[in-house]
Subunit: 669 residues, 2 copies
């Protein structure tokens, strides 16, 4: 058997596992695994450094299947190279409820799945974040401990998505030379030929963004290998454009969109077996080929053994720090740092925009937590995410901890996912909150994957003023609260901001959004509490001696409006209380008793938030009063906007009184 | 005065109106108007065909200020060329509440504002949609009636945003040679030099996408003019890269990011006046320059006079159709077409996926409404948006009515905005509903602008099955309902789908989303109703003779689950009713009486929707029962997923019974 024969048979093993699993599921995408099997076989057998017995080995090469619909390619490779999570039974269970082998690769479903992909372009941007993290951790821990490549397999769809431009232009700018992108250039999309909708010269585009590019026959293993070798030596990221045939090997479907997204069918599979000389039954792999794949897995794992020796040779302190970072544990210094900060705030009672309070918090946090990586999508001075000692990374120096993401919100969010997935760092970065819309597909994936990414979203309401409705979030708090497993935090003063930062950092299994104001807010937390009150989701900030007739719920900048309303009601002899609600999600997690006590029994419940009402019924009921927005905002000085849209203490008081009167009238009747 | 002197003084008029308005507002962006004044002056005085007295003239050239923060550039130009909406008082009122001169250009605030811009990159994609529409309408109505250019002024931010790639690759593919993009290449972003975050060779990128490109000195009027002349003759779209100095003329701030987003300040304005030789007081324009600008406006308007003659020469039928299309009135044939369709459905009672029912509706609609333009983001066979007689447009033939948008959801949505803004067409296009997240910034702008764009979003729940959580909308109905002025329609059978299409088409002042299933749904509307029942937002589909103890509310695919639960409850002797809720927004608009009658008085209210609960309290109260999702979905056959997540008639029945029992126990106590 020549090397080429062996390669072909190894690649065919991937092809037929994929073909057969899709057929058995009667659902899925055979075209990509068939077309990209040669590329993947070269990569996994000759280059990729990974350890099937230790999938989380810190210095492994990362492989991202950005074209996630080709999931069977990945599952086949993981199975063949010896990842125990991907047994033959799992492959046979493709796309069934509860299987590790979901329709698209799902992070957490098994070792070797580096990220959840499927929404196109995301994986490519994840890979950029991973490659950045490698550079930054290498700058910190040295090449003995951190020295690996990031590979991404992308399809035409990934490259047509706008996010790809954000990802590749950033990667090119940063000269991420250890990032290697393999483009499955099959010229086919779901609707037919790519030429139906696109004529882009992709290599020329990548070159324009500072990449090395090379074109190869994606079914020629030696061309592929030569290209990867060259890419590994490049001083820039490399695009390897691999000309492939979708559904390679299928006599009737190869090169056609019919190969993309449905099973080949029994008859076509039969003749495909004949065409490729594959005589084995479904899910059966010849022993020699199975062995060859296992050996490839073992060989790839050699690098881990060597790495382990280098790791053992490192000094104890470095090892401990490296391991802590890998585990994702926070340094113990954080707790004290937050406590000191809170003590200072309750003593100073500063009037600060919460974005500024966030900067103050970050000064303390970044000093205590060396793994935070800050950034901004070109709004550094507005998002207040760069602390004094933070140096920005540059193409020539990755020892910094701040990223100028450029005007690339979506790419930023997806690259932050890649950073968190890589491990060893905690990414946080900012933009204006209205642009959570631009980031949304990536935020959803942070939540779906359950990874610690912190979104610092400033200018969180009409309070930003003159920039007007295009820049004013109105529906965004609700729309973010709608995303499962996303923690939305809207602090109301400096102390709450410090507490919310602590919560976000400690929220290991999901992303957090910090919604922060442009405008100043007076501190109201006057007492140092050991407990993180924001951790309850909602808590009372103003009470009354008598039984409350009115409870005012508010978040962020509207807490001070609620407190002013409270003062007015109190003066008018109406017992009232104020509840600050920094997080709906955390409140939901509290005990029934706690929740009942916070919601209280006041006959009038009123919520104040400079956003839409959706979601507030949990606090105020479906007949509660709401002071907020029900339309887009407007351009003007922010205090006038609050007046114009009726988000004021006066409106709250008058609504509360009118309701009280109505209730009393009803009772009297 | 030489031509150059005159040009400079005319450009300086734009500069100082911008400088002074920003200073007076104490807020805004002087840098771009100062830097791009020369480009804009050349364009508006020598090339752009527009009529200040008839801003909506159908065949005007379109000018899109994609870099919307430079709004004062546009307002200054509109003022100087004679648009009555932009008086000097309006300019003095820049960024004040109620002014036409909002912080960013807001569509509808005055003649000459072609689109709302500010969120970067959107305007560029709008321009692509406008240029496409010009080509398509020209193919239909001939060059005598339709023959204009589309110009967009873009900044570095627009080009860094991913959406720009979607827009330019599509424009290049389609060879939109009447699209001319002027890039204000000032090398500065908010954080500082562009080189902090980007090294892209933009012209090379555009070339890779099939564009003509040319580099000019953006302060040299003859270079700019030569480039525009050449661009107007090109057979491809053209990027004119104009090297400019941000804040041009300001001795201390020119070329710096400090010129970008805040007033220059009194002192700096003084020396800028000196540097540019501008001796006039704030908001004062020398008479000769004011005249020169007015003459430019009059000259530009000549083209309208000539067009009007050509229009008068057209035959009466063409004129009438052209005018109807411009007004946005629907053809009268639509009503009959929908009626016939409904009659057929109530007779056939088909079992169809609503995406398929949508295709059936579109067959009727597209025959009756010649202005619809369909499309899909590479999911044509899944979205069912292409009807039998629809030819796809190609770079060489724009006589079709279908667009293969490619895998460009965001660009598609923004270009549809451009189509609707252009006028004469009604764009509708599809993708999977989960990818409304990719489109979201553009959907928000459709809603903010109040324009008729129809989003056909299929595969609208876990009902899509095996593709898994990355493809399954869960929070999307809620997140879309959160957007002000967006109509979200989720029909439950073929008749409802026809009605919802009618509603979307008749919704002239806002966008609509149709949420459609992948899976088949049985028809339940058995009687032909003249009235569009979906137009009520919610209506009763199953009633009971006795007073109802349970009301089941549901939408789309869950209506049949509600009906099965209703059957079970009825069998068990529990009077129940079912309400179908195709649209929250339309229901909200009904009379108090109607709403009260639909919500009813049943002690148990239960909502069934394969999404999150957020927003349902309006129907079921805060203590209502909910059968739906509270997490991401999973990969598996869809019927198993419905069982797994407990979205079944059995669960609904058992929850309803448990609640009834609990209530009866309470009452007995």
């Amino acid at each position: 058997m020549t090397d080429l024969d062996k390669h072909n048979r190894m690649a065919n093993a991937v092809r037929f596992l994929s073909i057969d699993a899709v057929q058995k599921a009667n659902s899925g995408h055979p075209g990509l695994p068939m077309g990209a099997a040669d590329i993947a076989t070269v990569l996994f057998t000759r280059f990729l450094r990974f350890d099937p017995t230790e999938p989380k080995w810190a210095d492994r090469d990362r492989f991202v299947l950005s074209a996630g619909h080709g999931s069977m390619l990945l599952y086949s490779l993981l199975h063949l190279t010896g990842y125990e999570d991907f047994t033959l039974d799992e492959l046979k269970n493709f796309r069934q409820l509860g299987a590790r082998t979901a329709g698209h690769p799902e992070y957490g479903h098994g070792g070797g799945i580096e990220t959840t992909t499927g929404p196109l372009g995301q994986g490519l941007a994840n890979a950029v974040g991973m490659a950045m993290t490698e550079r930054m951790l290498q700058a910190e821990f040295g090449e003995d401990l951190v020295n690996h490549h990031t590979y991404a397999l992308v399809g035409d769809g990934c490259l047509m998505e706008g996010i790809s431009q954000e990802a590749i232009s950033l990667a090119g700018h940063l000269k991420l030379n250890k990032l290697i992108v393999l483009w499955d250039d099959n010229g086919i999309s779901i609707d037919g030929a790519i030429s139906l909708s696109d004529s882009t010269d992709q290599p020329a585009r990548f070159k324009a963004c500072g990449w090395e590019t090379v074109n190869v026959d994606g079914h020629n293993p030696s061309q592929i290998a030569t290209a990867i070798e060259a890419a590994r030596k490049s001083d820039r990221p490399t695009l390897i454009a691999c000309k492939t045939t979708i559904g390679y090997g299928s006599p009737n479907k190869a090169g056609k969109n019919s190969a993309h997204g449905s099973p080949l069918g029994v008859d076509e599979i039969k003749i495909t077996r004949e065409a490729l000389g594959w005589t084995d039954e479904p899910f059966e792999i010849p022993a020699d080929i199975r062995d060859a794949w296992r050996i490839a897995g073992l060989r790839a794992a050699q690098a881990n053994t060597e790495w382990a020796k280098r790791f053992e040779a490192a000094d104890a302190e470095t090892r401990a720090e490296f391991e802590r970072r890998q585990r994702g544990d926070l340094p113990s210094a954080l707790t004290d740092a937050i406590r000191t900060l809170k003590a200072k705030h309750v003593s100073d009672m500063p009037s600060l925009a919460t974005r500024k309070a966030s900067e103050v918090a970050l000064e303390a946090i970044n000093a205590a937590v060396p793994e935070t990586i800050g950034g901004s999508a070109d709004l550094t001075g507005s998002n207040n995410t760069r602390t004094k000692d933070m140096k920005a990374i540059t193409p020539d120096d990755f020892s910094g901890r701040f990223v100028h993401w450029g005007i690339r919100e979506h790419g930023m969010a997806a690259a932050m996912n890649g950073m968190a997935l890589h491990g060893g760092v905690i990414p946080y970065s900012g933009t204006f909150m209205v642009f959570t819309d631009y980031c949304r597909p990536a935020i959803r994936l942070s939540a779906l994957m359950g990874i610690r990414v912190i979104y610092v979203m400033t200018h969180d309401s009409i309070g930003l003023g003159e920039d007007g409705p295009t820049h004013q979030p109105v529906e965004h708090l609700a729309a973010l609260r709608a995303i499962p497993n996303l923690l939305v935090l809207r602090p109301a003063d400096a102390t709450e901001t410090a507490e919310c930062w602590q919560i976000a950092l400690e929220n290991r299994n999901g992303p957090s959004v910090l919604a922060l104001t442009r405008q100043n807010l007076a501190a109201f937390r006057a007492q140092l509490e050991e407990k993180n009150l924001c951790g309850n989701g909602a808590y009372e900030v103003c009470s009354c001696d008598d039984e409350a007739k009115v409870t005012l719920f508010a978040t962020g900048s509207e807490v001070e409006i609620a407190m002013a309303a409270h003062a007015q009601l109190t003066e008018d002899g109406i017992p009232a209380r104020v509840v600050s609600v920094p997080s709906f999600e955390l409140f939901k997690k509290q005990s029934d008793d706690y929740r009942a006590s916070i919601i209280g029994t006041a006959p009038v419940k009123i919520a104040i938030e400079a956003g839409i009402e959706m979601g507030w019924s949990r606090f105020i009921g479906d007949d509660g009063l709401f002071v907020g927005m029900d339309s887009f905002g407007a351009s003007g000085p922010y205090k006038e906007l609050y007046e114009h849209f009726g988000i004021t203490a006066e409106v709250a008081v008058s609504k509360a009184k009118a309701r009280l009167e109505a209730l009393e009238t009803t009772t009297e009747e």
